[in-house]
Symmetry: C2
Subunit: 372 residues, 2 copies
């Protein structure tokens, strides 16, 4: 059993707020499984297995946590927050959920719940109306409270320390493979206080043009730009940072593009004032990159919300008219990717406050040149 | 980009067999995302993120791989196997899937696809009929071919070597926490050839009574039984083994229960002859444990299929009348768990062959006594 760091009163308050949101959005019941909505409400993280774990929260009344009998000992029981409903190996847990759902018509479904359970539920309840859990949960989870912001700041500071090690030349690059450097960064994230590494992208030279490159056998050489994008989970909250270094003096095209990227990223961070739209944060970075002639090479949105998950609402993307509000936490990470040649990205996590945006990450934003 | 170890001809053959199964089961289209069905058919593993990656395979014609534009460079393209359909950041990928699905009525949905995408698809296609992908895929994936069996045997041998290190006293236990021993076992799984550790349960004394115990701060002491259940992925296929050791001579109740467990597990392994039911494998182990009076303490099924995933069809559980067939690979892992006192489990992976069951794991099956 993992003991929760969060007091029971916080869970009770969150469940009560979720039920208020359900009333506001005409949702009769919320069903959650994998992902962080369930731990946000109960402290319990489901195992990603074929045996169903599901929280059923009706719009009125108490939540039930359906759980495989053999996993019940893992749960920190909080009888005021939820009733434990263990099921045996020969029972059908979806039928139990169906029964608990009673005459609910509109059901909000956890984003990351495996589809197999929803497919099974559809057989039981073909007439119900299904919506995404974000309808209920975004209003809660996207606005971080003080304890959550403190956790994000601490995780960000730990990631900054690893970035400083990279920029200080403490992480050998030349002659190692991307995969080796990725493993090294991962170990350092743990050493700096993360419990879990979520990803450590290391992409050298032409590989940096693939934004989600999988670090491989490519050996890093003098003359490469090396893009490092890494993050982990520390006390339940995520870090995420991207810095690039250049091995030897960068050629003019890279230096010029980086100066544009630096300007665009800083402008994106500064754009995050309460009341502006999320899509405006995206528009601000994109306008600068477009104007400099690199628009076609910026192939992704500007950022994503972050908290208990690396990627969560709100997203900084064209079409998202959500207004930035105090407590929103998100990445600002424009990039420029020239296929077959090189790529670059610069990323900080930002928290919106009434006094303006505050960057969680403070590692050097320049394209640091390393001689190795 | 990760280069596939599997030749293109194998993917073509698997897709053709999937389409035969679709015809047989009256499925018009198969949609896959997370999980191993998609890599089984295409070599590409989707990233577990909010941007949709989806394979759409119609019952006739070619597969399409819908992928975020920024992840497209990760894909090893095989134009004979699938058409790549990249989508940009402001497009709706579920609408693209909906269009590709055309007039399909019966749609088989990947088990592990995030529900958010199915919820969105339901808005587009409320009249379609949805079934689980196992309807199509179980017949393919549960019967391993020679190359797959070789990979399972190699992964099992690597796990055996770590078990032998445990049993040989090479992994210090007394005075360390469960979490420290779990990290040690994880490092050894990698050192023995796994690319990825999937889990390393270490449960001491009373904690061993929780079958899916999360290794924590409990310090291991002389007099403890220590249950270690671990596995990883090696060249795409999984290992999974459980062994218990006892620190000092076990008391009579533990020794007696273990002799029952040993007999039950061996009988379960030997029961796996072609043509017997999966539920019979469960019944064989359970009968022995029941008869010895421990029935109430055996709270889970006897086993699960294994391959590209740790848990997959077929399951050795009451109610599963699937007949064991050559190429089936699965665990046999009965356990006895006395709440608050102790627990024990013994697990091997078994491959069914025409000549009878063959255990992949050969590490010592006894309750090894360690003096530390």
């Amino acid at each position: 059993m993992t003991t929760s760091l969060v007091p029971e009163s916080v869970y009770l308050s969150r469940i009560s707020r979720a039920q208020e949101e359900m009333a506001r959005t005409s949702v009769d019941a919320l069903i959650l499984s994998l992902g962080q909505d369930m731990p946000y409400l109960t402290g319990y993280l489901a195992m990603p297995l074929e045996r169903l774990t599901m929280l059923v929260l009706p719009k009125n009344g108490k939540a039930s946590l359906i759980i495989p009998q053999l996993e019940a000992p893992r749960v920190q029981q909080m009888p005021n927050v939820f009733t434990l409903v263990p099921w045996g190996e020969t029972e059908d847990p979806v039928r139990i959920a169906h029964t608990l759902l009673g005459n609910a018509q509109s059901i909000a479904v956890g984003d990351q719940m495996w589809s197999r359970f929803l497919v099974d539920l559809l057989q039981h309840r073909p007439e119900s109306h299904y919506v995404r859990s974000v309808v209920v949960m975004e209003a809660l989870r996207s606005r971080k409270d003080i304890a959550e912001i403190e956790a994000l700041v601490a995780a960000g500071a730990a990631a900054d320390r690893v970035a400083a090690q990279l920029q200080g030349g403490l992480i050998p690059l030349v002659g190692r493979t991307e995969a080796e450097v990725s493993a090294d960064i991962s170990a350092r994230l743990i050493a700096e206080g993360h419990q879990k590494v979520n990803f450590a992208i290391v992409a050298a030279g032409e590989n940096a043009a693939s934004p989600h490159h999988h670090p491989g056998d490519r050996v890093i050489r003098h003359g490469d730009i090396v893009l490092c994008d890494f993050g982990g989970t520390m006390n339940g909250y995520c870090s995420d940072i991207t810095r690039c270094v250049h091995l030897g003096e960068p050629p003019a095209d890279i230096a010029q593009a980086y100066s544009v990227l630096l300007e665009a990223q800083a402008a994106g961070v500064n754009a995050g004032h309460v009341g502006t739209t999320c899509e405006n944060v995206d528009a601000v970075t994109r306008a600068i990159i477009d104007k400099a002639g690199y628009g076609e090479y910026f192939v992704h949105r500007t950022g994503h919300g972050i908290g208990m998950e690396e990627h969560e609402d709100p997203y900084m993307v064209s079409g998202n008219t959500t207004l930035i509000a105090p407590g929103h936490a998100y990445s600002v990470e424009p990039g420029i990717y020239v296929p077959g040649k090189w790529g670059m990205r610069l990323e900080d996590i930002v928290v919106a406050t009434a006094d303006g945006p505050v960057a969680v990450n403070n590692a050097n934003h320049q394209l640091v040149v390393l001689e190795q």
